[in-house]
Symmetry: D2
Subunit: 463 residues, 4 copies
């Protein structure tokens, strides 16, 4: 995999392979830490076709290192089982025919223990490789290693999303981590303490104070996206890494616009529900209207009413909906309908990036161990808040190639480019994203009907 559009980096000189190995180990451990609270049985579940069993995630990210690094570059590398190449490939059609995605939940062997052995094997062999790398391929190895680590971080977020869905399918409302539950319940009590009950139930704005504030951005030709880093900017912390879909950095004319200072809250979304948002056809895109008709959606994913009050499944089990937290697990269709109801619209991804590009990447990420978006402190007029973390923010932009986009060559070229159809862009990361995995130019994407991501809403409007 040589990248024609990227400047060559002589990593051998930098002799940073020790640091790369350490980073590799950190990322690998983080995946296993996320699965530590699971029972063996949880690892097996594919609760809908989009979901993969946690076991599969753990094996697939390991397969990536085997297929793209160990097999081509490590002398005498032996796979534990040649069939893994078939079982744990995902969508890399040019690498061979993957096992059918919707049947992943039917594969009981290798067992969970076997998958962990596979991981240990990969870890050990990667250590062997990085301890004495073939210098003539070091650049390629590090390139692929870096992609492999970001790939595994993407799957860490998918693991959290999928585990939430898997446990939520169970009418017993199982709890992923008890400390998460305690924290969420404690937060709920704080809310109860400061709000009279009537307010809690209706979630009516008590005053205009709760309205979002709008920040205005001037018109102009903006630089959007990112280029592959040059050598000097590059280091082993992944500073400067970008996916191909974020490239190249290019110009876009962005007209004057305003952006809300915070995501839409649960209280606001409940108001939308209570005012009949789900039954007013004029608020919905045609496909969205069909979707809510076919699915019967009347509230965000995971919500259910208990004794007249909205609750939601979380990784701490069933908890009351926090009115001040950003609404989450809504589809693009719901985000778009909400925005129309509110007399606003979703931002384009260029607008979002314009607002985010000068901000530091701060917010609630997976490392915070809350696994649920939280409400922001009121920060007055300090500009848009919570651009990063908590909830992915649906944009009004389709996931399409940037002008001048060139996919990576070979199988890795399937990484993003082949999904550039039928998907919408989300920006900013969420409470399940590793904090060092996201950046202003990062483009996440889901089909417009997807709801199992931690997806929320930020409003924009024309001036």
């Amino acid at each position: 995999m040589t990248q024609t559009t990227r400047a060559p980096i002589n990593r051998a000189e930098s002799a940073h392979t020790r640091e790369w190995l350490a980073r590799f180990q950190r990322v690998r451990s983080a995946s296993e830490a996320l699965c530590a609270p699971l029972e063996t049985e949880d690892y097996m579940v594919q609760s809908m076709p989009d979901i993969s069993p946690p076991k599969w995630h753990l094996a697939h990210v390991s397969w990536f290192f085997e297929a793209f690094i160990l097999t081509p570059y490590l002398k005498d590398y032996q796979t534990p089982d040649p069939a893994y190449d078939f079982l744990f490939n995902s969508y890399y059609e040019t690498h061979g025919t993957p096992f059918p995605r919707h049947l992943r939940g039917t594969i009981s062997r290798p067992t969970v223990a076997g998958v962990y052995q596979f991981r240990a094997h990969i870890d050990q062999e990667m250590e062997r490789l990085l301890s004495a790398p073939p210098l003539e391929h070091l650049d390629e190895i590090i390139d692929r290693l870096e992609i492999g680590l970001h790939h595994e971080q993407q799957h860490q977020e998918l693991l959290v999303m999928d585990i939430k869905h898997i446990l939520s399918c169970n009418p017993l409302h199982p709890v992923y981590r008890d400390d998460v539950r305690q924290r969420l319940l404690a937060r709920g009590e704080q809310v109860s303490a400061v709000q009279p009950l009537a307010v809690q139930n209706s979630y009516v704005h008590s005053s205009g104070d709760n309205e979002p504030r709008w920040h205005r951005f001037a018109a102009g030709v903006r630089q959007i996206g990112a280029d592959y880093p040059t050598q000097s900017a590059f280091d082993h912390d992944g500073e400067g890494f970008v996916f191909d879909s974020e490239t190249p950095r290019h110009r876009q004319y962005v007209a004057e616009f305003e952006l809300a200072d915070r995501p839409v809250t649960n209280a606001e979304f409940i108001e939308f529900i209570e005012e009949g948002g789900y039954s007013r056809t004029e608020l919905w895109l045609s496909d969205g209207w069909s979707t809510i008709h076919d699915t019967g959606w009347q509230a965000p994913e995971y919500w259910e009413k208990v004794d007249g009050r909205w609750h939601t499944m979380s990784l701490g089990g069933l908890v009351p909906v926090d009115p001040d937290a950003p609404v989450c697990h809504v589809s693009f269709y719901e985000a778009d309908a909400y925005a129309r109801w509110a007399g606003a619209r979703l931002p384009t991804e260029a607008e979002w990036e314009t607002a985010a590009v000068d901000q530091s990447v701060q917010g609630h990420f997976v490392e915070d161990g809350v696994f649920q978006p939280l409400g922001a402190a009121d920060t007055q007029d300090q500009g848009p808040q919570q651009m990063f973390g908590d909830v992915w923010e649906w944009t009004g932009s389709a996931f399409l190639p940037y002008p001048g986009f060139t996919p990576l060559e070979g199988s890795l070229g399937e990484y993003n480019g082949k999904f550039m159809s039928g998907q919408m862009v989300l920006r900013g990361g969420c409470c399940a994203t590793p904090g060092n995995h996201v950046r202003a130019s990062y483009r996440n994407f889901f089909p417009p009907q997807a709801r199992w991501a931690f997806s929320g809403i930020r409003l924009a409007r024309d001036v």
Copy 2:
């Protein structure tokens, strides 16, 4: 649950509850023994909607005792979790709304260990109940206990069928029990030793010696089915137990017919395949023709060609097809088409029962631990062989109520009667059936397209 059509039996007098408890424990242990070779992960798989995860089977048969015996009759009975009544109910709609069948594979909690705890709890409480049964309900308790044990035995067979399907979905071809594999492979070598290779591959009949022999049965009014046993005939070995669908014993006029002395073999079915059986429309029922068009079937379930020779997945993994063994895992449509191709037909269930009624229940059952049908020794002119065990034999009869049939009252009345639509009757038991569970009047049933049962073919013809 009082049965109006059944004579009351005062079991209290018989004081056989100790023996009933022992029988209960034998059946319960047998279920767990069948699951002993499984990995935890195997217990979770629902490889198609008709399949249930083994974990579910183990819990569901226990739920039966809880719902129909412990809850109504054991004072102070406490369930480990009230949600189990919802999760492990199957189709007893009058008992409540069951959890959707096709989603059983998504339920990771209770874990497998939790299900075994549930079983232990049921076993302990049943022991408590049977140690000091409420005499005024003893008849009902024993009635239900007996049904519950036969119900669990039915699920033992389903466990074997489902485990076979679960492991067969895995391209790694996992082996259920290594001793089964050794036995099947050894048998294959014997076959190889006595047959030249060419014969093995083409499976052509070398001579007319292989043709089935036909046994003729005279016309007449026959007694078909069974009545509920009277008190004197009844004992704790289940002698005389029948399901409601086998009742009442009634008259049918059966015209003269002939029945083959053995099931159709794999060698014969391969001949059907090689002569284009799957592509000759005139051999097929209209629904069968649509089915093979939609599914692409070209051979029995689990067959695949390896190096030009037919192999089949078994509970010993992938093994060569044994030409002398009865063909297995064919649908009713394939059985019917085969019979038409052979110039014969399937027997009616009355014909089958006429031939079987005087035979002893002998054959290969689950206790034999082969889990695969075996060829019979050539027994010359001793009458139809292998009527019991090895393979269930498709009949040409739809599963419908017998004249005078009255279903059990209450929820247990859902047991068989509600499935009397769209299904065909199979007779005789198979290599996955507990030997003491089957009898001449036993009516098994599956939809005509089902193939994951151990279902085979016996031919009949008019005179």
Copy 3:
């Protein structure tokens, strides 16, 4: 097509070909008379996959004479278009691949006028053939002609059923024939005149007088079915014709049973609805329960409530439901559930035939031009009434081959035998059946969920 089981008939000697031609012309005219009230557009509609456009029916029955008589037996026969053999074949797979059934409504050419030209061509060529038939094939020609005429009569009934469905899909409630509407409305007024309004709306039995009377039939071995007629019994009126599925005449033991003297009425079925019949799971077969869940059925096909009163689409448009008329357009599942609710069951086809065999074929048929079942006059104790005509009566018997059944050879053997799977038998004909087309041994069949036939319910019970 030689039939091995049928005695040869030297029709040449009988010199009845003129009479056969006349009969041919009568049947052909009757088909066209049924379509006379249609608009060209009506001929095109396929309102569900089971329905065929009337245009297709008219062409298909003509194709039958072309494919099985004219092409093989008429020297120099020229088809108007060779593609018709593909377009208008139905399910005779051995004759070639039929055009996909569910797409019949997409074929606008040949036009309706073109189809009538095709019919005229066939009529003319059949006249040419029968005017100077090749004597050496006369028996075969007459055999096939007779089947062809019964085949066309079957399609006459299908035409009525399908036209009803086609017009009923239209929210404008179009009327097929205005005289039918006048007659049905007049009948409704008579009902109104003699019943107080309260009774009309609730349809409660005012007294036990309305209860069906039960007729008892003794146990014994019965002769069921029919044999192909011998030469002497045969004549050109079709006396003695039977379909292969009715053969051979054979013995069945029929236990003592009772049969209701009339079909279930609309008033009775409304009582079933009002007492929650559609929501009581214990009344339904498992497949039936799924079906009403999936479809949302809460009443027979074509019923809708207008101002609190049940109405039904008819060939006279939307009319009030006549409480005294037999209930119609119910599925087998609904018939079965109704019977269970009423403490009875459906008769087997042998029971039905036992009761019908000595009755003359009298009732409301298509010739009566009502196209809707009518209530019978109260005939006191004269035995079962309305066994023929008005509504087909669901039996509890699956459509399976009789003992000794041999299908016709060649393509005509596909006529009935290949549908002997997944269907239930109905008996007796209906208001859309040609009166000389039905007889006591006639076996109609539909899948258990079908409702667009004029299918009703007669109860039976054990003694």
Copy 4:
């Protein structure tokens, strides 16, 4: 319907209503002229859910004038049938619940004659209205009239597309107009006359002369889209009309790019086929790869091989594929895969508009009566050819709102905005488009898998 973003136009002063009436009559006549070659039966067919029966199109465009002009503005207006408002509404959910789209082919009444009566009624009443319009509403009436006429012109194109599909479903290959057939066949003979047969069959480029020429466009901020016309620019010829989706005119930065001088030809696309384009996964978007797997596409819609040579259904029946004509009836997925195979990409809609904005609207349109795209004369270096007419050109842009887009108010706001999800933009019009209906800013859109539009490919590339 007041449009807040549009300048008020006092049309009363302009007294142009007579001209508007004349234009109304021209457009209405054109619709009927397109249907003149149809048989009554053709008007009924819905050959797939996306298709509407021609009868429905003719009624629906008339309903638009009734619902949005006659009912609100014509005193004493009487509808011929109130049910038409339900039957012939399409997707205007806010106007009421439309009749289910996929069932349009089941509605035989009103008949075709009835629909023409409805049209005559609308025409007459529109004439009555426009002869003496209520001056206080004249602006609104003319606004809506103009939209209604463009709406009817859109349906004229849909009529051609749908008629082509309807006739193509018929294995008889019916011809829409014989003169079209003669013209296409004559053209084919010309091609045959100048090309040796071997070249015809393989369609190999004989030399680089056939390669498209590339035109380069400089980078810069461009004005894209259109504003609603101001009063002075407006006249009754529709000059200046735009749909809401084309507004507002806004700035976009367009980087330097090159555009091919002509659409991709059939010869070039056959080369793609012959080089395995349909089986090379790396050329396809993930959704595209699934689509060709599910559908089995191996060539454009309507193509079939006859005696080794590609033919295509046309409105002149089955004709040989013209190698020099633009390829047509390809999906977005095929267009995208072809572009990748050719080392190029599809243009964005901004790029396309940049190239088209200064060109006059010339090309083959529906008025030319060819109904099939034709090859362009070689025009050397005169800039991009055939930007208008012949084939719609897929762009790489999703159909999304322009910055500052505001949909029309009320039901008409459903016109375009609600489809801004899941669709791709096409530009330039085709051989089925009325020539005065298209313009450089016109945005057509279809789902990426649609093929029944006259959709082709023009390549672009980065510099």
